[in-house]
């Protein structure tokens, strides 16, 4: 029996963890189970998605392996337990990058499919599963290979379904070609939210990648001040002659560990405010075309492993909302509510989303997405987040299940109107309701 939590370390629950090595083992577990079963990757979802108390958790990391990369199409078949980090370690030196990368490379392909993760390029490239050519899915009633063309119901039902349709054992992904291992980055400091949102809304077609870090503790005329970074993969011709010979180096990932369990409250109001201030001041007002490594651009947080420990014993919650384009005002009110409530929030992330993805439970909808990290502890926090739910739901928006640990279940059907389609699919693939998770129980999925 093992106690498991998500990245936020908020809701421990105990289950039996098993590590199948192949599809056959997975099928065996699913077809005999009399308790709830759910798959788990690297546990980077914040809440209780990858755990099922009293049940069986399938540790997907045993399902590894990286096949050869097709040099003409960039297609590669990988085990679902492969991390994006290890895939990149193999593919980048050969000139291939992952089409969609979340803010950390410490996620598995299975986890990326289950959350249908998005990156800084959603406005252009959509979410992760749009780049999945096919996947092998094991359900309690059998295993199948599905793609968007041959079985759109199962494929798009699985995208974003948080592991509730079955266990993905393998997937074929389409990678994108890169000429160098650098990104050319434009940085702009924006003095307030209006300036930021105007810059983001108008310039979005000019760059493949775009993200803003917002200081959610600044109030008054600085409300929503932010650092906007936008970038594109550097081409070989962008490097100076000296560097063109080694446009791609074998990447070395310098990982500093936080070697101790930080006391609760080390990240407190004062230290978070000071950090946010320093972050804002450090950024250049405007800078163009600065070459930055792939790691520093895509996964800046990965330089410190286990940073979630800094939040201490009570853990951290992340609130990520998406609202339609017309609801920019909701983004402002969310930031305002937070800034004035006195609840400390580390740098928040604001991004643009392109058109919604076809997954029944995929999170993105065209418009804005805002993600905020907050330590558990301030007594006002639960109420503030409940208020945010109301605002978001009333606007036709939603919160991201991969980050959720506290949504009021009443809002779920409005936020995810295609939930019924998932329910119907699950009734077919899993008639005895074997697949289950603490998140599914909590939200009544």
């Amino acid at each position: 029996m093992t106690a498991l939590t998500g990245w936020g370390r908020t809701q421990p629950s105990v289950a039996t963890v098993v590590t199948p090595a192949n599809e056959h083992d997975v099928l065996d577990i699913l077809s005999r189970a009399t308790r709830g079963v759910i798959a788990r990757g690297l546990g980077r979802s914040y809440g209780d998605a990858a755990q099922v108390s009293g049940g069986i958790v399938i540790d997907g990391r045993g399902l590894g392996g990286i096949g050869p990369i097709d040099e003409s199409t960039g297609e590669v078949t990988v085990g679902a337990g492969t991390s994006i980090e290890s895939l990149l370690a193999t593919s980048v030196p050969k000139g291939w990058f992952i089409a969609v990368s979340p803010g950390t490379r410490q996620v598995t392909i299975g986890g990326a499919i289950a959350a249908d993760v998005h990156g800084k390029n959603h406005h252009r490239d959509g979410a992760f599963c749009q780049h999945v050519r096919s996947m092998r899915l094991v359900t309690p009633t059998g295993a199948m290979t599905v793609g968007a063309a041959n079985d759109p119901e199962v494929f798009w039902g699985t995208a974003g379904a948080m592991g509730l349709t079955g266990v993905v054992t393998e997937a074929t992904l389409a990678l994108i070609p890169i000429e160098t291992d650098r990104v050319l980055v434009d940085t702009d400091r924006c003095k307030d939210l209006d300036a930021l949102m105007a810059a983001m809304a108008t310039g979005e077609e000019d760059h493949r990648y775009s993200v803003a870090w917002v200081d959610c503790m600044a109030t008054g005329s600085s409300l929503g001040r932010a650092v906007l970074t936008r970038g594109d993969h550097a081409r070989r011709e962008h490097l100076d002659a000296r560097e063109q010979g080694r446009a791609i180096a074998p990447s070395a990932s310098g990982l500093l560990r936080v070697p101790w369990r930080a006391p609760s409250g080390l990240l407190n109001r004062a230290s978070i405010r000071a950090f946010n201030e320093a972050w804002f001041r450090r950024a250049p007002t405007h800078r163009r075309g600065e070459p930055v490594s792939l790691g520093a651009f895509f996964h800046p947080l990965d330089f410190v492993t286990d940073w979630n420990l800094l939040y201490g014993r009570r853990g951290v919650v992340q609130y990520q909302l998406a609202v339609p384009d017309r609801s920019g005002e909701t983004v402002r009110r969310a930031i305002e509510l937070l800034a004035t409530s006195g609840v400390p929030s580390f740098l928040a992330v604001l991004k643009r989303f392109g058109p919604a993805d076809p997954g029944f439970l995929s999170f993105p909808i065209e418009g804005w997405t805002l993600a905020l990290d907050m330590p558990v502890g301030p007594p006002r926090l639960p109420g503030v987040l409940d208020r945010l739910d109301e605002l978001v739901a009333a606007d036709g928006g939603r919160v991201y299940l991969a980050k959720d640990a506290r949504l009021d279940p009443r809002h779920l059907p409005a936020m995810y109107p295609r939930l019924d389609e998932l329910t119907a699919l699950r009734a077919r693939l899993d008639p005895h309701g074997v697949l289950n998770s603490d998140l599914a129980r909590r939200l009544g999925v």
């Binding site: 421990p12 009293g54 049940g55 640990a405 506290r406 129980r441 909590r442």
Partner: protein, 254 residues
């Protein structure tokens, strides 16, 4: 399932007509609690509590009857409550006890037994029936209402205080036994609470009321502290009171 802030969705209250338990349940229903199983002796009090909980947001409030005077009924009561809950239970509140009437009880074996059975034996039997069931769930919490009466027992209510002392000590041990199981047990130690149980008794220093105790209990579900005192200052007051010589302790008011 409970959320990141320790808010439960499905709860069982043993001693559902206790004012404190009811006030805790009302607060939890205003958050995420939707199913509350109320177990107690008086049908009338339970139905009254049930309608208050529905108003606060509960959608299912099954009632279970039991009599804490009969310790052998504890296991079946727990079973019936878990059954009625219809799914994994996030929180069990144990608020069972009888204050008795010390003057009448202290020289009467039958009456003394009634106080001890309701305050100690029945709850311990219930906790023992519950423990394995929650461990199998891999999650859940138990909140046991103890009392400062058991922290240092007084002449004025030593039967009740002694029974609470036994319950409290048993729970300290049981909480240890639950480490690593996903289940946690928290002990609530209120001071003198003005309620129907203590109606007509004179106030003592640090007296508190039901709402204040319930607030402390609910905040404690989020903080996860193993022992919750209400008012919180009693933690320190009793650290000192515990050291007083018996002669001084005897003369303190209350």
């Amino acid at each position: 399932m409970q959320d990141a802030f320790g808010n439960p969705q499905r709860i069982v209250v043993l001693g559902g007509s206790s004012d404190i338990a009811r006030a805790i349940a009302v607060r939890l229903c205003r958050e995420r609690a939707r199913t509350v199983v109320l177990a107690g002796r008086s049908e009338a009090l339970l139905s009254d509590a049930a309608s208050e909980l529905r108003e606060a947001g509960a959608t299912e409030v099954p009632l279970v009857r039991f009599d804490a005077a009969v310790p052998s009924s504890a296991a079946a009561t727990v079973e019936a409550c878990l059954e009625a809950a219809g799914g994994p239970v996030d929180l069990v509140v144990v608020a069972v006890g009888a204050l008795g009437d010390q003057a009448l009880d202290e020289d009467d074996a039958t009456r003394a037994l009634e106080v001890v059975n309701a305050t100690y034996t029945w709850p311990v039997a219930a906790l023992s029936a519950l423990r394995g069931r929650l461990v199998a769930q891999g999650t859940g919490r138990i909140l046991v209402c103890s009392s400062v009466a058991g922290v240092r027992v007084r002449r004025a209510n030593y039967l009740y205080g002694g029974a609470k002392a036994g319950l409290d000590a048993t729970c300290v041990g049981m909480a240890e036994s639950l480490r690593g199981t996903g289940v946690a047990l928290q002990i609530l130690r209120p001071g003198f609470v003005r309620s129907k149980m203590t109606h007509g008794r004179p106030d003592v220093p640090f007296a508190t009321d039901v709402d204040a105790v319930a607030d402390v209990a609910v905040a404690g579900l989020s903080s996860g502290q193993p022992v919750l005192w209400s008012p919180p200052i009693l933690r320190y007051v009793f650290a000192v009171l515990g050291l007083l010589p018996q002669g001084v302790w005897r003369r303190l008011p209350g």
